[in-house]
């Protein structure tokens, strides 16, 4: 924790955990989809189920899906923007308490038919933890430069990724691999202090065992 966690964050009220944190989870979901959203389904769990409207958590989700940051005043009108864009969105509740008392699941469908499902926890003060992406149980807080690399679970692939990153003098702060089944599909989460350039992403993407990569800069 540093002085800007005490004098800050600058945010749209009323609640750092129920508003600002939710914007961040939704923004990451939208980045993972990487295309225009045509349909979204949101499931609130825990304390969200009774207070999400009063905390504007629904508008926070829509704001995040529109790509807004937690301090963007347009969050207040995000619902109108959804109506204007004719984006279909529904809100429901689901018990996801095994993750955290403040958890939300967001499922989005893009114009190409691509679908992404994210489970995120708002762990306090606007900080978040992403716990699931599609079928993968993951864990990252998006405070680093983060590469999300879905891939085939085959030998040598992790070494390939590490080598490409090292060749560009980027230091890996954390690296985690999560897989749904042995020899099936897996997902790699790489966190670095430095920014990761397009060149690196293109080089990684050229490997046929790697699916669509998502790159997140530290959340604001």
């Amino acid at each position: 924790m540093n002085i800007f966690d005490i004098i800050g964050p600058i945010m749209i009220g009323p609640s750092s955990s129920h508003t600002a944190g939710v914007v961040r989870i939704a923004k990451i979901t939208s980045k993972l989809l990487g295309e225009t959203i045509v349909k979204a389904k949101v499931y609130f769990s825990g304390s969200f189920t009774t207070t999400y409207k009063g905390h504007g958590s629904d508008k926070a989700v829509m704001g995040g899906l529109l790509g807004y940051n937690a301090d963007d005043i347009r969050i207040r009108d995000s619902k109108n923007e959804f109506i204007k864009r004719k984006t279909d969105i529904s809100f429901d509740t689901e018990d996801l308490s095994e993750y955290h008392p403040n958890t939300v699941k967001i499922e989005v469908t893009g114009e190409s038919g691509k679908r992404i499902s994210v489970i995120g926890c708002s762990v306090g003060g606007g900080s978040i933890l992403i716990r699931r992406i599609n079928q993968y149980e993951v864990q990252f807080d998006a405070t680093y430069n983060t590469l999300i690399i879905p891939h085939n679970d085959i030998s040598g692939l992790i070494a390939f990724v590490a080598r490409v990153i090292a060749e560009h003098q980027i230091n890996i702060a954390n690296m985690k691999v999560f897989r749904s089944e042995r020899g099936g599909k897996a997902i790699m989460i790489i966190e670095t202090d430095q920014l990761i350039g397009k060149e690196i992403i293109n080089q990684l993407q050229s490997n046929s065992n790697i699916f669509e990569i998502t790159y997140l800069e530290p959340i604001e």
């Binding site: 540093n2 002085i3 800007f4 004098i7």
Partner: protein, 293 residues
Amino acid sequence: MSNFDSIKDLVEIADQENVKLSDIILRLQAKELGISEEQLLERMRITYHEMVLSLENAVKNDKKSLSGLTGGDANKLFEAIKTKRSVLPEFISKIIARALATGELNACMGKIVAMPTAGACGIVPAVLLTVKEENSIDEDVALQGLITAGGIGLVIANKASISGAKGGCQAECGSAASMAAAAMTKMLGGTNEMVANAAALAMKNQLGLVCDPVAGLVEVPCIKRNVGGAMIAIAAAEMSLAGIKSVIPVDEVIWAMKNVGDQMSVNLKESAKGGLAATKTGKEITENFIKSY
């Protein structure tokens, strides 16, 4: 071990070097963040201007909160001040109205700076900006006040808590009151020791305060508790600047806040199950609110 584990230690370092507490906080935090002191100062200036803007918007705001429960109270007091119907000196009435206004802005999805939390976001701006205005204080000195408040808040966060769910309202409005008292004392020329005493005196007056939000919303009683925090802050600064000391040293007061928070029932820590949330009216509001879903 963090450098921000003891206010006494920070004061000692500052006194030994014959500099202000805010200089030490600035230096240590710049190092922690891996940036220069100038860069930290510029980032803090951006936050400061957001705070100024947020207060301006708060004063103009006439919206009701999302739940419809709150809103419009600050305007009643601003109107009383304008028409000379308010009974307190204007300096104090203004702080009350501004603390309310920022709390109300937060409740209707306005842009605020959490200090240290969104629920307690009205205390530091109301005190700091009104003291600045009334005493024609330079922006750079106000920034030193904000940095002092940040350093005090950081020690409280490290040694106790700034979360209502962990420590009750004493951890949110109490921490904000300590921070505001420290900032005001610094801005009005208090010594480093006076800054520490002001923080202690403010926190002592908030010990035991429970977090009991009606329907779990950051509205009742949060908005009006920002007023209590701000009043305690200016009283603490007034006492400290006159040379009054806290018998219990500031770090021990912070320890006591944690100790009280740990002993507090979970019903009284943001769960909306005790205190005002559990009153007859509090429950009725909750039921009506849930029905509207």
